[in-house]
């Protein structure tokens, strides 16, 4: 411990504002935070080890259980990695339905992240509004997949259930309601004087720092990192004319605003998908083969990479998962929180990077 430190303040592992346990150790001089360290290991699952040696039919369910907030994208990336190994084609209708499920999951995740942030800066009214809106999104995820959290919607070569015309109409009506409510919440966030005081210029991370720590997702996009959204390279998203949301401020406000903007973008993508949903089957054929691949997809928090090796029987011999929170939490501790002007800003800055400890401790 350096002599310059006045007090060493531990935050966590249990904290009222944090969804999951993690310990932040802050060394302070007066009110200023000199540096911060992250202590993990409170909820290690060892899920990668559990996956090894199991058939893909079991691993696809385990992949979802890495994280409860972005479970759909874990399912999607694992299945798309298996399809890449096995050269399995996906019917166009199934590809579009995958986008619908993935974007509903993204909306739910972004709203939850912004709820956490608003709760942390003591704007509980807006936090509860957001949580209320999230329920409608989860209802629609249930309407499409039959489940709110662990959906197991995607399978190699397609999806499990079709979207019926009645459900599609109901989903569009609900999305219109969600959009209207989110516009109101975004306006409250953008124009709130309390929010501006607690968010603008706080937890700044430069573009260079973001690149050095390989920051991904909305955290990187809020610091002005271009071309870091993997949806730009995904064939279905390219068909839908996807463009990346980017801001340059690099502070807490920008990170939350990027997520708000991405919610509207996701609603537009779902609308496009439903309006231009191709006719045809929702499942193709194919067998899972032996092979090895590294496949990345865009989770709500950023780049999610699955490195998989399978054998001839479709068993997962080896698997490594690199989740976006690994990069974002590290960048948050060593770039955003370091040299923070006040210890009071540490919690809100940490939450603004949308840390997912369940993803980090696989």
């Amino acid at each position: 411990m350096k002599k310059t430190v006045d007090v060493s303040i531990p935050l966590g592992p249990m904290h009222p504002c944090w969804k999951e346990p993690v310990r932040l150790k802050c060394e302070t001089a007066g009110e200023r935070v000199l540096r911060a360290e992250v202590e993990l290991g409170y909820m290690k699952k060892g899920i990668e080890r559990i996956m090894q040696g199991r058939p893909w039919q079991e691993v696809m369910f385990l992949a979802e259980r890495v994280c409860g907030i972005c479970s759909v994208v874990h399912n999607m990336v694992f299945i798309e990695a298996m399809e890449k190994i096995s050269d399995i084609a996906v019917p166009p209708r199934a590809a579009y339905l995958r986008v619908v499920a993935n974007e509903l999951d993204r909306i739910a995740s972004h709203i939850l992240a912004n709820f956490s942030y608003c709760y942390t800066i003591e704007h509980e009214t807006l936090a509860m509004y957001l949580l209320n809106t999230r329920e409608t999104v989860l209802d629609n995820l249930e309407r499409l997949t039959g489940s709110r959290i662990n959906t197991a919607y995607m399978i190699p070569g397609g999806v499990r259930f079709d979207l019926l015309p009645g459900d599609a109409a109901a989903m569009l009506a609900d999305l219109a309601k969600v959009e209207e409510e989110m516009r109101r919440h975004t306006r409250i966030f953008e124009t709130g004087p309390l929010i501006a005081l607690r968010s603008k210029g706080i937890g700044f991370m430069s573009r260079e720092d973001a690149i050095r720590a390989h920051t991904v997702g909305p955290t990187a996009r809020a610091s002005g990192v271009e071309d870091c959204d993997l949806r730009l390279r995904h064939p279905t998203y390219r068909e839908l004319g996807f463009t990346q949301v980017t801001r340059t401020e690099g502070d807490n406000f920008a990170r939350v605003m990027v997520r708000f903007q991405e919610v509207f973008q996701s609603i537009d993508l779902i609308r496009k998908c439903i309006d231009t949903l191709p006719e045809g089957p929702i499942r193709g054929g194919g067998f899972c083969k032996a092979g090895e691949t590294s496949y990345a997809g865009e989770a709500p928090r950023g780049e999610l990479t699955y490195t998989i090796r399978t054998d001839d029987y479709g068993r997962v011999v080896d698997i490594a998962i690199r989740t976006p929170s690994v990069m974002n939490i590290e960048a948050c501790a060593h770039a955003m929180i370091k040299d923070a002007a006040s210890i009071a800003d540490v919690t809100s800055t940490f939450i603004s990077s949308d840390p997912c400890i369940a993803c980090n401790e696989r």
Binding site: A320, A331, N360
Partner: protein, 128 residues
């Protein structure tokens, strides 16, 4: 009061992070680049880095190889950017001193020999 009331020994957990498949490959690559043994480098990483930085070691190494462009052969060989900003094993002032001395040495002796001496000093700076 400058210390914490309750502290866990994190060495075992840090070691577990470093011995996972991807991280092990990264540690071996860094050790090879520095010319030191894997075990010694692991010990230094466990001592200096917190758990999140160790988790992110692989990504930082990748980004360092992609973006750490010093534009100078001496800095490139020593890993001026790589081992200060991407993987903070050496503090910037120490690395600046090593870089200046090595640059001066390249005028007096063959380039490879000067770089070898510079790398030896980088290794010394990494060790406590």
């Amino acid at each position: 009061m400058t210390g914490y009331l309750y502290e866990k020994d994190l060495r075992q957990m840090k070691y577990t992070i470093l011995t996972s498949t991807k991280h092990d490959e990264t540690v071996r690559a860094i050790a090879e680049r520095l010319g030191m043994s894997d075990a010694k480098l692991r010990m230094m990483l466990i001592r200096r880095f917190d758990m999140s930085l160790l988790e992110n070691l692989e990504s930082r190494w990748q980004m360092g190889q992609r973006h750490a462009n010093d534009g100078d052969p001496v800095a490139e060989e020593l890993g001026y950017e790589l081992f200060t900003r991407f993987i903070p094993l050496v503090d910037t002032e120490t690395m600046q001193t090593i870089y200046s001395d090595t640059t001066a040495m390249t005028q007096q002796m063959p380039f490879e020999e000067a770089i070898a001496r510079g790398k030896a000093r980088v290794r010394e700076a990494i060790r406590p």
